[in-house]
């Protein structure tokens, strides 16, 4: 049996008899399941490609025995580890071997989601109705009335009835093959061997997720000898866990077998849309109206006002001009329909604090925004607000100029309320000359690269915003 190691070097360093015997108790069903799995691997000729995932439980030492690629998973997570291996190398043959505590208790989420995903891996599930490794406690598959160390009076209704995993997994759309087998007599053993081989073959043929539940004997914690344990499985367990094929839909071989990932750097740059185009510059120098190093801006409105986009466009314009710039949005539930505000910094060399608790420039799209942030504007700063929706301007710090522009009105006259924020940018440009007109327009065109049809409308909105300020259509209030 070449799929078992010649010598179990990992079993106590292969010393003495441990080099050739398992750690399992006499008569334990695990050994048989191992044997059939090893035979299946060998018969299918996939030993080199196989990755076996050892679980936590009595079969944690699966890797002592199988001469295949081995990995040992955290309790219950073997299917997730199996997904990791299978997605890392779709050519590998990945086997997740799990006991009942591992699969049906702590690892339920992993096994159900993996099965539903239908990823072609093979799961061998050993159900012996009890926890072995930890010493005979209640398992999710423990039978009603069965005594365990944590149900000393027998499993009661309080714990609910045992869970039938084969049926549960078969009820999902993902798996292609689910069968429950047993080991208690020669006939069942032949079936078990066949089922495990089939479950593995389905993976080798890349057909899908296969699951074999094996009713196994744990003589030790049942407090029986192996032959009594066989009898108990045959009589008591199969009454609750009926044997047989639960699902078998063998689909055609999956044609869309993944090929290896792409590492071509040219393709990589293409994928994240790196551009070789250098944006033209229009600023002669860093705008110094508000200090020599850094300008703080804030854009505030209701969700949908376009405050974030306007803010990003200004940051973008700053970067195009060769300055450093940052944009930071308010986000989360409050930005979903509630207030939405954004802080922008434009710096000559490097933005230090990216927040704008006291901005030089504020664009306010509604009254609450103006009321909240207007008083925080630095002396010498400028506010541009939507006079279509804001009637009262709160008292502002000395030296702050507030310019009302009917942004909503202008945008709706253009037939597209959405361009309100571009109207605001036009107004901001005209009111402050922070960057030349073309600076803004370049940023706008860049943003609309994939929606060119929108460019003329946005240019028009920008122009109207500027016009509104320049023709004193807007109301100016200086403090």
């Amino acid at each position: 049996m070449s799929v078992f190691y010649d010598r179990f070097e990992r079993h106590d360093h292969g010393t003495g008899l441990k080099g050739r015997s398992t750690h399992y108790c006499a008569g334990c069903g695990h050994g048989l399941a191992h044997k059939y799995l090893a035979e299946a691997i060998e018969e299918l000729g996939v030993q080199d490609r196989t990755v076996a995932v050892s679980p936590v439980g009595c079969s944690v030492f699966l890797y002592y025995y199988f001469d295949v690629g081995n990995t040992q998973a955290a309790h219950g997570r073997a299917p997730a580890v199996a997904i990791g291996h299978k997605t890392a190398n779709p050519d590998s043959i990945v086997i997740s071997y799990q006991g009942d505590g591992d699969l049906a208790s702590i690892g339920l989420a992993e096994i159900v989601s993996t099965a539903q995903m239908g990823i072609p891996i093979t799961v061998v599930f050993i159900n012996n109705a009890i926890y072995g490794m930890t010493g005979g406690q209640l398992a999710p598959t423990t039978l009603m009335g069965q005594r365990t160390s944590t149900t000393p009076e027998g499993r009661t209704a309080f714990f609910g009835p045992p869970i039938r995993m084969a049926e549960l997994i078969a009820g999902l759309d993902g798996p292609v093959y689910v069968e429950r087998v047993a080991l208690y007599d020669a006939k069942q053993r032949v079936r078990a061997k066949k089922a495990i081989t089939k479950a593995l073959r389905l993976q080798v043929e890349n057909r899908g997720f296969a699951f074999v539940e094996v009713l196994a004997e744990c003589p030790t914690h049942l407090g029986m000898n192996p032959s009594e344990a066989e009898k108990w499985v045959k009589e008591a367990m199969t009454a609750v866990f009926p044997l047989g094929v639960k699902k078998d839909v063998e689909p055609p071989t999956d044609q869309v077998r993944p090929v290896g990932p792409e590492f071509d750097p040219v393709r990589l740059v293409e994928v994240f849309e790196g551009s070789t185009e250098k944006a033209p510059r229009f600023c002669a120098a860093f705008p110094t109206l508000w200090g020599t190093e850094d300008i703080a801006l804030k854009f505030a409105g209701a969700g949908g006002d376009g405050a974030q986009t306007a803010a990003l466009l200004v940051a973008r314009a700053g970067i195009n001009e060769g300055f450093d710039a940052t944009h930071i949005p308010s986000y989360g539930p409050e930005s979903r329909g509630g207030t939405s505000y954004a802080d922008v910094h434009i710096a000559r060399t490097e933005v230090l604090s990216p927040a704008s608790p006291s901005p030089h420039l504020l664009v306010a799209f509604n009254a609450p925004s103006l009321a909240r942030f207007g008083p925080t504007v630095e002396g010498g700063g400028t506010i541009v607000y939507d006079s279509s929706v804001i009637a009262d301007v709160p008292s502002l710090p000395a030296g702050v100029t507030a310019i009302g522009v009917p942004m909503t009105q202008i945008a709706s006259a253009l037939g597209r309320l959405l361009v309100k924020n571009v109207v605001a940018l036009g107004a901001l440009q005209a009111a402050t000359s922070i960057f030349p007109e073309e600076s803004f327009l370049t940023a706008i065109r860049q943003a609309l690269k994939s929606r060119c049809a929108m460019i003329p409308l946005n240019e028009e909105a920008f122009a109207r915003g500027r016009q509104a300020v320049r023709s004193h259509e807007g109301s100016v209030q200086a403090n």
Binding site: T50, G69, A73, D91, R189, F263
Partner: protein, 493 residues
Amino acid sequence: MWYRIPARLVKSSLDPQWREAPMSTVRERLKPHLLPQFCKGCGRCIESCTRHCISAGTEINAATGLIPVNLDLEQCNGCGLCISACPEPYGLRAEPGKDFVLEDPKALFGARRAASEVAPSIPDELLPLPAVEPLVVKGNYASAIGALIAGCRHFYGYPITPSTEGAELMAKLLPKLRGVFMQAVSETATVNMMYGCGGAGMKAMTFTSSPGFSLMLEGISYMIGAELPGVFVNVMRGGPGLGNIAPEQADIKLACRGLGHGNTQAVVLAPSTPQEMLDLTILAFDLSFRYRNPVVILSDGYLGQMTGTVRLPGTAVKPGLPSWAVSGDRAHRGNLICSFLLSEADLEAHNIHLNSKYAAMKAAEQRADLFETDDAEVLLVACNTPGRMAKGAVRELRARGIKAGLFRPISLWPFPIDALRPLLLRAHRIVVVEASNGQLEDEMRLAISHDSVPRPPAIASVRRFGGVLPQQKEIVDRVLEGVGAALVEGVRV
């Protein structure tokens, strides 16, 4: 040697190598053979034999203390049922009969494949990346792009604000590079998928945020124990519990001192700009494979959302395949990924080995950014976004004539004490600025204490919580308070 005789002489197989085997010279039915020291006396074989060839033993085997069965094969027809009833790999086995013509097994089956090869280590390749204009992207995107440049093509994750943009960008871009984007059922599943993918020698990553990171800790401990690479970007948010989705830095303790159970450490990197989100993600993959250990990037919710300029490096990585990987191929068949070492001596040796890796990281992976520290008398210490606020404060303080400087740890573990040590000679005072309850300060204090720095300066702090970040003004105010006090006392404070 007995165990070298191929046991499965009678099986046909899908493996062409088996199918072509000349079976005619092999006796079809072989009688069972048992070495008593490998029999556990379970008796499963006894009932399987319809010919009653096997009976319960009566003598204790001296080597095992167990009672092996007795075989009397006179009636045996070689049906093999007993063999398939024996749970022991080296228990009942088919044995050639007396008239068996033993041919060279190589002629029968080709070379036996018991021994796996010694796997080669295929190094990463650096490919030139076409020059492009700087990107203007938010921090989370920058990190995702960094991962792609670092050769990561496997992303596993579970959506959580404020980290999701990273995952979303990966979901968009990875399929175009024939990579794998997998939305797991939970963070618990996520980290274990990374365990599998990392175990296969591939570059795997996730984006998460504080509550999700908590859930991943068990798996991170397993990864450290099994020595697996993997990059975790934790975009920290407010806690404890569900907290909120605003920025905090309250996972520093978790990442530096509590990566799950056991003796665990990982390099923890703290970017403070979108540019560093990219650079440090690339570095993280490199370190992760260099040390065969996870690497944690601690970002904050503010930085994740912050858009800024990001320059790309000149090269991109085409990953190789490490020799230790369990990659499902012949060369790597002998490998094992495992954190389980049952014997105390083995586990102690493993921990000593891990400790030596931690020591190597401490020696080689300290990173810090120093701003105006050469003559600094007041040293601000801050990382992530508060590091930027602190930088602003330094500039403001300098303008007021105060010799302030910023010490910004980029590696939180190992804490960059080597860069801090000389600054402590001149500094009168340290002000630690953070969006947490002193977790950064604790890292610094531990490092200073382990370093036995004589007479370290007094330490003050600016701490905010719940998503409120320390602002430049309060940092400046705190420093000025201290300066006032120092002037009054006329001594070092």
